[in-house]
Symmetry: none
């Protein structure tokens, strides 16, 4: 899962980045407010860690603008000035949790997990498209009612495609969502992954749009 780290102190940023990577996330750093705002507004992240004390553009303003644009990813704010009022202000601006600096990395990870879980974990509904359905609670995919055994990565692929069914998803986008920008265009990992899923869900489940990407469901016929 991609996490956007908005932090101007490069040492803290790299520490955070390392810890998140070790915890299995895919961290990306934005070191100034403008960059942060743009990326949070246009890209998809599983969560954002936002330092309030930033040059160029205040963290709180960024937060408010995101929320105004109905960007609803979970957000954990950091600040050196651990005052009660600022904390409340942050929460009111739409943050999900707050952590005063300095902080323990373990605590940060725990809180991050908590807000992600709270956001996504429980209320997610069942997805059903065509003969495939997906139960996020059990992380179980079934085809015509028959359970299909998927590996973690395969599951994430199907989940993402189903969440975005009817839209064309480029290989680039898939790769980013699944792994971060770990592998470039010279690898065919995505193609292999898609092939594996097709073998399990049937070749028609995922449609190829040559030169553009993949699409789930919506058989054009």
């Amino acid at each position: 899962m991609r996490i956007l780290i908005v932090e101007d102190d490069s040492r803290i940023a790299s520490d955070l980045s390392a810890a998140l990577a070790a915890a299995g996330y895919v961290p990306e750093v934005a070191s100034d407010g403008e960059d942060a705002w743009f990326r949070g507004d246009t890209e998809d992240f599983g969560a954002v860690i936002l330092d309030l004390g930033m040059p160029l553009m205040d963290g709180l303003s960024i937060l408010r603008q995101w929320r105004a644009n109905s960007r609803d990813m979970p957000i954990l704010i950091l600040t050196a000035r651990g005052t009660w009022t600022e904390r409340v202000e942050g929460i009111e601006a739409g943050a999900d949790d707050y952590l005063p600096k300095p902080f323990e990395m373990d605590e940060l990870l725990a809180r991050l997990r908590a807000i992600i879980r709270r956001r996504g974990g429980y209320s997610t509904p069942r997805l059903a498209i065509g003969e495939i359905s997906l139960d996020p609670r059990r992380m179980q995919v079934t085809r015509r009612g028959v359970p299909v055994q998927l590996s973690p990565l395969e599951y994430r692929l199907v989940h993402y495609l189903m969440l975005n069914s009817g839209r064309i998803i480029s290989q680039q986008e898939l790769a980013e969502q699944l792994q971060g920008d770990l592998f470039e265009r010279e690898s065919n990992a995505v193609e292999v992954l898609v092939a594996r899923v097709r073998r399990k869900l049937g070749t028609t489940a995922i449609e190829t749009r040559r030169g553009y990407g993949y699409m789930f469901g919506q058989e054009t016929v």
Copy 2:
């Protein structure tokens, strides 16, 4: 199951903590209102024991804010000033039950069990899934009617998995729930624990979802 104790009197807090631990819960203490509010707001607890007479932030306010944020864990309030009006106020603010100080530890435990059970929605205190059943009152697990001897930690594992049967529980989540503090992926303590329980309850009782976690019961059909 994690229980948040919000209590500024350290002696009471530690007594409570000990009693809850002995009863098989995982107690955590917050000694001031601010801390309490945040943890209750951001972390998951099975229940909260909330003292109304707190410095910095009034217990009732904390309670109202939690409820306003749709935090719906069961809450048992304590107060030294056992007045009728305050009790009503507490219930109206969203508490589940009320206990005047001083109190008997046994009564507290009974009421705590009651509100947890009421919240969990199962009318029978007994949990039964497949050939395994669990009696929380006696902390006794049986398999096909035969009592099984479990260590405290093993019991807590089974309890938590049964309360959440049909949902996938990650190793992370298990570790947090069972220990209160988190230990990293460099330890395989959870795996060892699961193996030990399986030896006692049968290998099929706990299903492994590779890469995701564990799930109780709910054979893949």
